[in-house]
Amino acid sequence: MTTTAGLAAGPGLHAWLLLAAVLFCIGIYGVLSRRNLVAILCSVELMANAVNINLVAFSRFHGDLLGQAFALFSVALTVAEVGIGLAIVILVYRARKGIDVDELDLLRG
């Protein structure tokens, strides 16, 4: 399964890259446009998972395990990140009684 011949069995590399790119852009759009902090967190997750797709696809393309290993690391790190992110959102919620990102402009200028 780690041979390049395996590529022929499924969709080509380009297809995976395209999928990842679309997911990534949706993630970016979400971060830029959603007002709910939790939704923004989800969008960041989407971006990270787009990368994971890419990593696995490249791993298969190159026929080595490096990308897959990296994807595992990436997943672990993303989990930690989301954990902290949620904690911060809760912090903000406590202080603000709301999680609308637009209201957070105390620091500016």
Binding site: V44, L66, F70, A80, L91, G109
Partner: protein, 497 residues
């Protein structure tokens, strides 16, 4: 394949990590934790790491790989370790009394600083983009928490949130960049990337995968070093975070991120720098101008320093624009990057030590007008702060001047005259806003509702050491410059060119 002897090379990292655990255990186990013991053990950890780092530095003459190539053991990494350890020690000492005053009694502060330092040190020596990313995340996750450590304060929470959202967002770009580089080259080793580029016909041009990868890497690192247009979080976050944390971010985080960026640019992409010369030029110019112009009308000293830190990142980028495509040995002045990171760390920690004195009823108040009459009340503190600010402005005979001189020399020697002119304009603007607090200290009367400065021995010690160092290495920079240059040139060992 795994040689236990190689563990020596991460001795400093291990020391910091183990001591962080010790402090954590102590802080969590005892209900009435002893802040002094916690601080002492933390500092001991940093000192142990510094000693181990020094031993490594002397033991390793020729740069070498460790851990199957994931880590580069070279002078560059050693030098950065020292900067990180200094920054962490400075932040810890400033925080000691400060946290008590703003009524933040959390056991995790000291361990967090150590864990973050651990990540920073690894970042400086990472030869593999995977390790680089992991250590960067270790650092960042800790800093997000540190930013919001003042839970009762809305500004602190907002800073943490902004930093987190932007950081996670930028991490996505960085991660994608690494994925694309891996996709294009088949390896995540920085030295392997350099070797790949060294092969005739390989380059950014004509390889869109790698082009996208490099662009995204620049975005990710650009965010961490606060380069335009990825810099906009900086003023808000620096202002909102508690002062010791800001000091740590401005020095340690910046140094580590810049080290990683430099390693990628000067090792992996050195032969390709003509390809992105214009992009880097524009980023550097924008960073210098936006940082310095933004700082001009700030009334809050902390926010002003935040903007100015953007400007300083710009000067460092300016030197990188002068990186020679033909090999690092062509432009040894680039060693000024390391020297400047150290100088910036020292003088910034000094300035923030003074800032930490300005609290009122547990709330920070760092408006420049608060400085009025300081020269009369505390002439020594006013003088020390003035020296640190003048050093930041790059006035001789200070460390900041010498460092800036080398950055300009590096840019000019690299043929980047245009960006040096932009840098000079930025520096001229800088002198104006750095002088303003000094004018206020020496010429303005005390504000009517003055508060006693919360001076404490630890922060005063930091300030004293920083001021002396700024002057001493401003007058006799010779040997330190040499070490910095040699450390930077050690990167040449990895180059494909």
């Amino acid at each position: 394949m795994f040689d236990p002897g190689e563990l020596n090379f991460i001795g400093p990292e291990i020391a910091v990590f183990v001591f962080a655990l010790l402090v954590l255990v102590h802080d969590v186990m005892f209900k009435q934790r002893n802040a002094t013991i916690s601080m002492g053990v933390s500092l001991m950890g940093l000192a142990t790491a510094a000693v181990l780092n020094l031993l490594n530095m002397q033991a390793v003459d020729v740069p070498r790989e460790a851990f199957a190539g994931a880590m580069a053991v070279d002078g560059f990494g050693f030098f950065l370790n020292f900067i990180v350890l200094l920054a962490a020690a400075g932040a810890l000492l400033i925080s000691h009394d400060f946290l008590r005053r703003i009524d933040v009694d959390v056991p995790e502060f000291n361990p967090l600083v150590l864990f973050v330092a651990f990540g920073m040190m690894l970042m400086g020596s990472a030869n593999d983009l995977i390790l680089l990313f992991i250590s960067l995340e270790v650092m960042s996750l800790g800093v997000y928490v540190l930013c919001g450590i003042n839970r009762g304060e809305l500004a602190s929470a907002e800073a943490a949130l902004k930093y987190f959202v932007m950081g996670a967002f930028a991490s996505g770009f960085l991660l994608m960049g690494i994925a694309f580089v891996y996709g294009g080259i088949g390896s995540t080793r920085i030295s392997a990337v350099a070797q790949w580029f060294a092969i005739e016909g390989n380059g950014i041009a004509g390889n869109p995968l790698i082009g996208v990868g490099v662009a995204l890497l620049l975005v990710g690192f650009g965010f961490k070093v606060a380069a335009a247009p990825f810099h906009m979080w900086t003023p808000d976050v620096y202002q909102g975070a508690p002062t010791p944390v800001t000091a740590f971010m401005a020095t340690g985080v910046k140094a580590a991120a810049f080290a990683a960026l430099s390693r990628v640019l000067l090792v992996a992409l050195l032969g390709q720098n003509l390809e992105f010369h214009t992009a880097l030029w524009l980023i550097a110019a924008g960073t210098i101008l936006m940082g310095n112009i933004g700082a001009l009308v700030q009334d809050d000293l902390k926010r002003m320093l935040a903007y100015s830190s953007i400007g300083h990142a710009g000067y460092l980028l300016m030197a990188l624009v002068g990186a020679p495509a033909a090999g690092l040995a062509d432009n040894p002045r680039l060693g000024g990057i390391l020297f400047y990171l150290l100088a910036y760390t020292v003088m910034t920690v000094g300035a923030f030590a003074v800032l930490s004195f300005f609290t009122r009823d547990g709330v920070e108040d760092t408006r420049i007008s608060r400085l009025g009459g300081l020269a009369d009340r505390h002439p020594a503190v006013a003088l020390a702060l003035s020296i640190c600010l003048l050093s930041l402005a790059g006035v001789p005979p200070t460390m900041g001047f010498v460092g800036k001189f080398y950055l300009f020399a590096a840019a000019i020697e690299g043929g980047a005259i245009g960006i040096a002119v932009v840098g000079a304009i930025g520096g001229a603007i800088g002198i104006y806003y750095y002088l303003r607090p000094i004018v206020v200290m020496y010429m303005h009367p005390e504000p009517a509702d003055r508060v006693e400065l919360a001076m404490n021995p630890a922060a005063l010690g930091v300030l004293g050491v920083a001021t002396v160092a700024v002057l001493v290495f401003g007058l006799v920079p010779g040997s330190l410059i040499e070490v910095a240059q040699d450390s930077l040139l050690s990167l040449a060992a990895w180059g494909g060119v």
